[in-house]
């Protein structure tokens, strides 16, 4: 099976879907001539021409609005944000228009639009360019939020996102673009809302998505040496959440740790914890533990940045805590 980079997997998904469906087109800053800020759209301008791969000005609100309108008229736009931090100037288009159009028009117009880009911290880009927006967007009815951690997931999930008739928030990560993994040559689709067991274990369920899956794997290796067997559940889609998969795992392990790069207050981990307390209260041996970013703007300084973000060490400590280990 070919081993390719995460960015290449996304590129393949875009190309395959554009070939399959002439209504799919790409829009965003530097996506065409420059081949994308992170080279996700590399070569697509040459293959599909400027009609279907369009560079835009630095006007997120404007081209997001264009995307909503195009989607309402029957096209299937894939809008790239150079990073999700810049979606904040377009948040009214995303929340008030993309998410609500189907409802506000009584089902006359749906918005089959994918918005994608890098989410979360990169290396020292400080507090304004390190936002984790999964909890923001998952809060809004009408939006699907997806967050693949591997090249395999990225390709199968982006294809599912493009084919879905609802607006999809598709979250990637700068560290992940260069990660490699096996991706089959034959076509496959990973359904929206279907999680994945990234590592089987018996003692603790560790829920992680995006880059946290990588950290979780390292933490699990360390914990295995202490005799603690960690099961890593990657929900892959934040919303709709595959809570059944998580619950099934918790019923087996009796303990749950949720790690996320974002902040804890009203965060993704809180949501998982609440749902698991609802579903599995009698199965828990310890209250659910959350690992997340400290409650402060993410600093630029390398040491402070590392101190603020969730880390392998913090995940290991969280797991030890639910195991009542010192």
């Amino acid at each position: 099976m070919p081993v390719i980079e995460y960015r290449t997997a996304l590129n393949q998904a875009l190309e395959e879907e554009m070939l399959r469906d002439g209504k799919v087109f790409i829009m965003g800053e530097e996506v065409a001539e420059y081949n994308g800020a992170y080279k996700v759209t590399k070569g697509l301008l040459d293959k599909f021409g400027p009609e279907r791969v369009k560079d835009t000005p630095i006007t997120e609100s404007g081209f997001t609005g264009l995307g909503v309108g195009a989607a309402m008229m029957g096209l299937r736009p894939v809008v790239e944000y150079m990073s999700w931090n810049f979606s904040l100037v377009a948040i009214d288009q995303i929340i008030s228009n993309a998410a609500k159009m189907y409802y506000m028009t009584g089902g006359q117009f749906n918005v089959p639009m994918v918005m994608r880009g890098a989410n979360g911290a990169a290396a020292q880009v400080s507090s304004q360019h390190s936002h984790n927006l999964e909890s923001f967007y998952a809060h809004i009815p009408g939006l699907i939020v997806m967050a693949p951690a591997t090249p395999y997931d990225a390709k199968g999930m982006l294809k599912a996102a493009i084919r879905d008739n609802n607006p999809v928030i598709f979250l990637e990560n700068e560290f992940l673009y260069g990660m490699t993994g096996e991706v089959p040559e034959e076509e496959y689709i990973i359904p929206i809302g279907k999680g994945d067991i990234k590592r089987e274990g018996t003692d603790v369920t560790l829920v992680a998505h995006l880059r946290q899956v990588i950290l979780a794997q390292e933490a699990a290796d360390i914990l295995a040496k202490e005799g603690i067997s960690v099961e890593i559940v990657d929900p892959r889609t934040i919303k709709p959440l595959d809570i059944d998969l998580i619950a099934e795992s918790v019923r087996k392990t009796k303990r749950l740790v949720v790690t996320e790069e974002g902040h804890s207050f009203c965060g993704f981990g809180s949501e998982v914890a609440t749902q698991i307390h609802d579903l599995c209260f009698d199965d828990l041996d310890h209250p659910v533990v959350r690992v997340s970013q400290n409650e402060n703007p993410l600093p630029y300084a390398k040491n402070l940045e590392a101190e603020s973000l969730p880390s392998v060490e913090k995940i290991v400590a969280g797991v030890r805590k639910v195991m009542y280990r010192k």
């Binding site: 009796k254 009698d282 199965d283 009542y324």
Partner: protein, 441 residues
């Protein structure tokens, strides 16, 4: 016209299951209101039941000797002798099955979070009849004081609790070693099933086995009473800190007075009657001993109600001599004889065996028992074990003298009673028994 469905009634505040000891009527009989139709064994006694309804007994659903939970269908009446009743009976049984299924489902369900509504019993359709026991359980008697664990403040994780229930682990016997305050999975995962439930039945491994052809063992089903004894003794042993004090009492003066008293016509006083009286007066002097542990508080009884352990064919029961400190020896003797008679015929009513403040277990009639210790009768704080009386030698002013010695051992709940107090109590008791004229006054 409709069928009347008869269900197993609840005959005491603690009754959960009952056994039909005997059907006093048979299928086809015309039942009149007030007629005793069955005797039912509960956890402590067997009681006759009179019907509140009239009709023809058409079918006995629960046969003699079978056990069922309260509320189960046991029989069906009809108003006419030849009326159809099968459909309504089936409906009632189906409703019963449905409830059981829901209960089982709830027990085994790992999926559902929302509580399921229990289907209401088939209210429409057959009339549900009720019974009153021929001997009414006294309504004024407070509900029996149950065992109150001293570990109510120990926390248990939900998962550990669930596992303990599944594997019948007694959580009050488990130490929260991992956290110091909350019992978690790690504390119980490696414990054997049934841990702490029945310490007494576990073999020590030191039993010598004789090499011979194996003979199949006889398994005797637990009677209601045996189950009740088991439950209470487990409660009494699980995690209750106890201590024991033993004293030797010279019985000669008492035996002498007893002989004089019994030489009178119509007087029959036993050694046990003396002991009941002596214990009652001693408790009056040391009311802190006349108490019960209640978890959040200690209940000190103002009445001295002595429970007397009585061995009966089925097991053991503790009828009560009420206000024994106010009664004379003859009255105590009469009470005890009456209660023992009732106990042996299974006719004790609830208030006659529940709610005592102190228990005496007397094995004196078994001469071979030199000394023994009793298990607490919860929630009471103490129990006195009375062994057999034997001849022993004693030095008095350099001379050897023969005396009759009876050894008394008290078991005390240390949460309620401390050693010094128990020692004072035993001193007082010894003094009464060795100066028996005080008991005759």
């Amino acid at each position: 016209m409709s069928a009347i469905i008869i269900q197993l009634p609840s005959l005491s505040p603690t009754m959960e299951v009952g056994t039909i000891a005997e059907w006093k009527v048979k299928e086809g009989d015309l039942i009149e209101e007030g007629m005793v139709i069955a005797s039912i064994a509960t956890d402590k006694s067997t009681v006759d039941y009179e019907s509140l309804d009239e009709g023809y007994l058409r079918k006995i659903v629960l046969p003699e000797g079978d056990e069922a939970v309260v509320g189960k269908v046991i029989a069906v009446f009809t108003e006419e002798a030849d009326e159809e009743f099968e459909a309504e009976l089936d409906e009632a049984l189906a409703a019963e099955t449905a409830i059981e299924e829901v209960v089982e489902e709830e027990d085994s369900s790992e999926e559902s979070s929302a509580p399921k509504a229990k289907p209401a019993p088939a209210a429409a359709g057959p009339v549900m009849a009720s019974f009153v026991p021929a001997v009414d359980p006294p309504k004024s008697v407070a509900p029996p004081i149950g065992f109150v664990s001293d570990k109510t403040d120990v926390k248990v994780s939900p998962a550990a609790k669930k596992l303990a229930e599944k594997r019948k682990i007694n959580l009050s016997a488990v130490e929260p070693k991992t956290t110091g305050s909350r019992i978690v999975m790690e504390d119980i995962e490696n414990l054997p099933n049934g841990y702490g439930m029945n310490e007494g039945q576990k073999g020590s491994g030191l039993v010598g086995y004789v090499n011979r052809a194996p003979e199949p063992a006889a398994d005797v089903n637990l009677s209601q009473m045996r189950k009740a004894i088991t439950d209470r003794m487990i409660q009494a042993s699980a995690g209750v800190p106890v201590f024991y004090l033993t004293t030797a009492v010279e019985m000669d003066k008492m035996l002498d007075i007893r002989q004089q008293l019994n030489s009178m016509e119509d007087t029959r006083i036993s050694i046990n009657d003396f002991i009941v009286k002596a214990v009652a007066l001693s408790l009056r002097q040391h009311p802190e001993m006349n108490a019960a542990y209640q978890g959040e508080y200690i209940r000190q009884f103002n009445d001295v109600d002595i429970s007397v352990a009585v061995s009966i064919p089925d097991g053991l029961i503790t009828p009560i001599v009420r206000s024994a400190d106010t009664k004379g020896l003859a009255a105590i003797g009469k009470d005890v004889r009456q209660l023992v008679g009732k106990a042996k015929s299974g006719a004790l009513s609830l208030d006659e065996y529940q709610g005592g403040s102190f228990t005496i277990s007397n094995l004196g009639m078994f001469g071979a028992v030199e000394t023994f210790t009793a298990i607490l009768n919860p929630p009471q704080a103490a129990i006195l074990a009375v062994a057999g009386t034997s001849k022993q030698v004693k030095l008095v002013n350099g001379e050897v003298k023969e005396v009759s010695i009876c050894k008394l051992t008290i078991t005390c709940d240390h949460r309620v009673v401390d050693g010094a107090l128990a020692a004072e109590f035993m001193n007082t008791l010894k003094n009464y028994l060795e100066t028996p004229v005080k008991l005759v006054l």
